[in-house]
Symmetry: C2
Subunit: 323 residues, 2 copies
Amino acid sequence: MKKNNTLEEIAAGLLRSNTVLLFPHISMDGDAMGSSAALCAALRKAGKTAHVVVEEALPDMVAFLDKGYCTENPGLSARPDACVCVDCGEYRRFPKRKELFCSGALTVCIDHHKTTVPFLDLNRIDGNAAATAEIVYDLIPLLGVEIDAEIGTALYAGIVTDTGKFQYSNTSQKTHLIAAKLHAIGVPAAEISIMLYQNERMEKRRLESRILGDAELFAGGRAVISCITRKILEETGGRLDETDGVTEALRDIRGVELACLLKEKADRTIKVSLRSKRDFDVAAFSEENGGGGHARAAGFTAKGRSVEEVKALLMRELAERLP
Amino acid sequence: MKKNNTLEEIAAGLLRSNTVLLFPHISMDGDAMGSSAALCAALRKAGKTAHVVVEEALPDMVAFLDKGYCTENPGLSARPDACVCVDCGEYRRFPKRKELFCSGALTVCIDHHKTTVPFLDLNRIDGNAAATAEIVYDLIPLLGVEIDAEIGTALYAGIVTDTGKFQYSNTSQKTHLIAAKLHAIGVPAAEISIMLYQNERMEKRRLESRILGDAELFAGGRAVISCITRKILEETGGRLDETDGVTEALRDIRGVELACLLKEKADRTIKVSLRSKRDFDVAAFSEENGGGGHARAAGFTAKGRSVEEVKALLMRELAERLP
């Protein structure tokens, strides 16, 4: 039975290692990238050979955080002393890198997802941390490294994205105290915000226009639904990975408790993304349909049916479920 | 020559008064309402007769902050001991209430706008405060009142709105330290966020859809423009006061430095709203055209020309100006 470790034990394990590889999850977000970049910078300041190992191109949003940390192949001549999965806690979150990961003499997990259970040599899982960056913020001083503006920039990016700009319910007193400290050491918070949030493709805006324009209220205005077909993607030039923000814009309509966005994938399966405001458990509903997620943000995939069919089924089903 | 006073002097003036009226600016935003509500609650806790005097209906977004503070007519039998303008520093920001305001035995200004100059008996103007709510946060303990969850809710709403969810460059270490303190005393930050930001009319989303769908890049992609005509308002059911957020969505397009939104008003004049990302001084450009504002958010009104004419003129002029 693996156990959760203290940050001191994690720090001791890393300090004993000379080469350390960091493994953020696929579909990297601001916290996966920010936490990994910050820890990589700190390990290098502590004299270690450290890299962030990736298996796909960096998403546009977080690419600015890579100051020479990321590589698809670290090119080590021997097995790494330590391999750390960051902001994730399952092998399927870094599938193509599993073999390299498991070659580490020491394996470590640093994560804040509530569903993660200890599964490696050392594990630091804190479901109360708003972001993995909060855990890394506490870990770095234990490596004997001071948090400078570059490390702070990566940590800030992790925190601001995983808390939805400090708006989600995971945001705590501690989150703001860390943000205050990062401001104090000169982290350029406003510029980071521009890099993260003010760099959207025009095609994304065209897609958003269609999603908002096509949206339909149902269940007496308690729910809203919109669909992205292959035709809409073709006409707007938008991509299915460019729907962050717009599902929330649907949820944020007055009186709406539940927002549904249907996305027709290239293989004609339908990805259903659900967001709720206060009460409706979209994780439970998604699990019934073979998917999963969080209580307020979850989803599942529907196969063998057209967008219109899935839409009609969903509207009927959800109209009954919504109080 | 009027001078800026210390918070201690402001507190002493208020503590000498028995009836205190608070005057937030017209077109009330989260900070005007939040600061006024917080100060009103604190003055009542200090045993004063206090009201927030308004001259128009409360905007939907901030109405939840009014816990019996706001009135159009305080119905006093004698002149008020003190009148305080909150989050503004000019009579034209509370035009219909000027006479009542000036009837105060003591007049006070509490504001954070950099352009405000001391003009009343007592003035506390701090251009470095991210929100007037930051100033009120420091003032309330000097009234001998402890900040409770209700006062904290109003202060938090002021801070979160005036900092753009802690993203604008006015956000400081102090801003986050205050937010941390408010979290610690039990302010329901996530629920406040729902009340402020997740309560949009469906018609607003329809209008946004049109604005985003009609947007045109120009000046080599360095600028973007979109227009709201009377016809679009009619077709979508949207209102001209429902464009918060969408001008920023235009600005946030990759490569765009400047976003222009033209709004045809009922009297056929054209309100031009401008937002810039980093460099372009929209305040200076707006002043040349008889308007004004901040360096990154400003506007002016064009008269005697159609939307299409103003659009063509602007695109030509700005294409030359943008570096």
